[in-house]
Symmetry: C2
Subunit: 370 residues, 2 copies
């Protein structure tokens, strides 16, 4: 844990850089807008892989979420330690050490996990039997992401039968997240992709129930598509994460009703550390301050300033002719290209309201790889 870049009460321009800043008003409006949009039609299980922070998870639960999703056992451990009582690891967990930790965690909180392999089901059962734990197990169905998950239909039924036959596992339903659909740019493309996913999920659920197995829940959806999952009627629970912050890549999506508009609430505060020529400023925030897997960061509310390349510790900003040029030492806000891996680079958030630091929140699941 590195030192914190700020103390409460500081002005934003006094915060050391690069720092990961949450605009608290915008963040709180994002929480609220999601809850209003779903209007109680489905359960909300917010994805904690975006923020990696139990302070934020607690606020999501206070705003109506049933709990959170995580991708790693160590993330789930951080969330349970932070007071979250209901965590779904929306991912397959493979390897004896990790499965033993998952079973142990299931003795302390309501824990779910996904499966796409029968041997993995056996290993989960054995670990839960040994720990005296009970685990909720979701069969992951590949509804278009081409990542993990069994095919819809018979393969999902076969795996559900495996789960149902185990004493320490509870078959909780289907995990059906269409990751590849989240950044299809047009509303039409995303609606169609989720429509196909919903058809596959509905048929699979019907098949499982026809076999006499209760399939009580279908969970999935992300920030770019969740209203389509809701409108399809095929989902009982949604898992959006990025809605709390938004990022430059999500902002490139078409956004229209029924999806609510979310605001950029997460920023990298950077300092201009070099002004070598009139048309260039260099900031102290590069690859180590902002993940560029989904594009370069955007300069926030400074017309004519564009981040054109980054190296590990530098961001190069081009200044258009006539634009107000930033001075050496001036601080700029950047909107990260992709929030989740950017968050993973920091040890804490600097929560700001009205230009003053209000709170520092530890990113307690930062680096939670295991």
């Amino acid at each position: 844990m590195t030192r914190a870049p700020a103390t409460p009460g500081m002005r934003l321009d006094e915060v050391d850089t690069p720092a990961l800043v949450i605009e608290l008003d915008a963040f709180e409006r994002n929480l609220q807008r999601l809850v209003e949009a779903i209007a109680g039609r489905v359960r909300l299980r917010a994805h904690a892989k975006t923020h990696k922070c139990s302070e934020i998870a607690r606020r999501q639960v206070a705003a109506g979420a049933v709990g959170v999703c995580c991708q790693k056992v160590s993330e789930a451990e951080a969330m349970v330690a932070g007071g979250i009582g209901d965590v779904l690891v929306s991912n397959e967990i493979v390897g004896a050490a990790k499965i033993a930790r998952l079973a142990e965690l299931a003795r302390q909180a309501q824990i779910g996990v996904c499966v796409d392999d029968a041997r993995n089901v056996s290993e989960l059962e054995a670990a839960c039997a040994k720990a005296g734990a009970r685990l909720d197990v979701y069969v992951e169905v590949d509804v278009g992401a081409r990542r993990c998950g069994v095919a819809p239909g018979e393969p999902a039924l076969a795996l559900a039968r495996e789960v149902v036959s185990r004493r320490h596992l509870r078959f909780a339903g289907l995990q059906a997240y269409h990751g590849a659909a989240q950044h299809l740019r047009s509303m039409t493309e995303r609606r169609e992709a989720i429509g196909r996913a919903a058809t596959a999920v509905r048929a699979t659920r019907a098949l499982i129930e026809a076999a006499g197995i209760a399939c009580s829940r279908v969970t999935g959806a992300g920030s770019g598509s969740f209203m389509f999952e809701i409108e399809s009627g095929a989902f009982d629970e949604i898992q959006p994460g990025s809605y709390v912050f938004m990022d430059a890549d999500y902002a490139r999506n078409e956004w229209a009703a029924p999806l609510p508009r979310f605001e950029h609430a997460l920023f990298v505060l950077a300092t201009v550390m070099s002004r070598p020529v009139p048309e260039r400023a260099v900031v102290d925030a590069g690859l180590k301050a902002s993940s560029v897997d989904s594009g370069l960061p955007l300069v926030w509310q400074r017309a004519g300033l564009e981040c054109v390349r980054v190296s590990d510790e530098h961001g190069v900003i081009e200044i258009a002719p006539g634009a107000a040029a930033p001075a050496l030492g001036e601080k700029l806000l950047l909107v990260p290209g992709h929030c989740d891996p950017t968050v993973n680079l920091y040890d804490c958030y600097v929560g700001v309201r009205g230009g003053r630091v209000e709170a520092l929140w530890p990113i307690d699941a930062r680096g939670a790889l295991y």
Copy 2:
């Protein structure tokens, strides 16, 4: 700090994943090969931004480096705390809080910093006067990287005059790192780029010395070019970093004499967590385990396996027809696309020799942003 993924004595296949593994034999050969290649013709100041680890810095010094470079004050603080007595911050440091820390550090160790702005020189002088410290100051010259640095020639002389006029600053010479040249693919392109840099540097040094200012050192160079800087005769000190590990992007460069061949010594150990279809394996190492800014990771020594895409926590591996397919739970080694930002994702290295864990080294400058 998350929990360590291994304990000494473990077999490699028992290490939890994703883990950042150093093959210690290859790493030690890389250290040695660099020292042999430079054959005492210049000073070696290894760049610690690659490894962010004082354990490794101490080994570099033991192998003959005069000290290390860093890019951030907090990295330099970690290196000094780890016993390195001579650190050059090969970067501009802007902002009162950071400059005060730099001056404080200069009371504890031999510290250098780069400048490209006269006001910044004044701020460094004021902070050093206040702290009672003395700082080595290098004028950074832009020799082609188009990032920070003043233009060669008169602008560099003007700034050198500024430094020389200050009581607590010592004008130590020129910083001339051609970052943009490091990944020019052919030997010829890199040699030509460094040739142009050397010409600019030689003329600038002559101009400064003609003005009666001793310019005792020119420092620069990276792992992709350092032999060209040495052969040019214009450099007194080199700053390679990546040579300790190599990465997939550097390996795409043409390598031939006079550059020595370095070996891949850094790997991400990953577990196959899903085998949903015969032609696909999914590993538990994605964006959060391997920075993809310079390309996807490569699967190490497994013919027919290719990492074709990553998401935050997943790497998707395509299995070519006829290739030996990895089983669920099997562990694979990946070569990261770019070592520096990949290292920044982990809290410790797992040092392995002959298939056994020999040591865990904390990455004590991980997340050192300030």
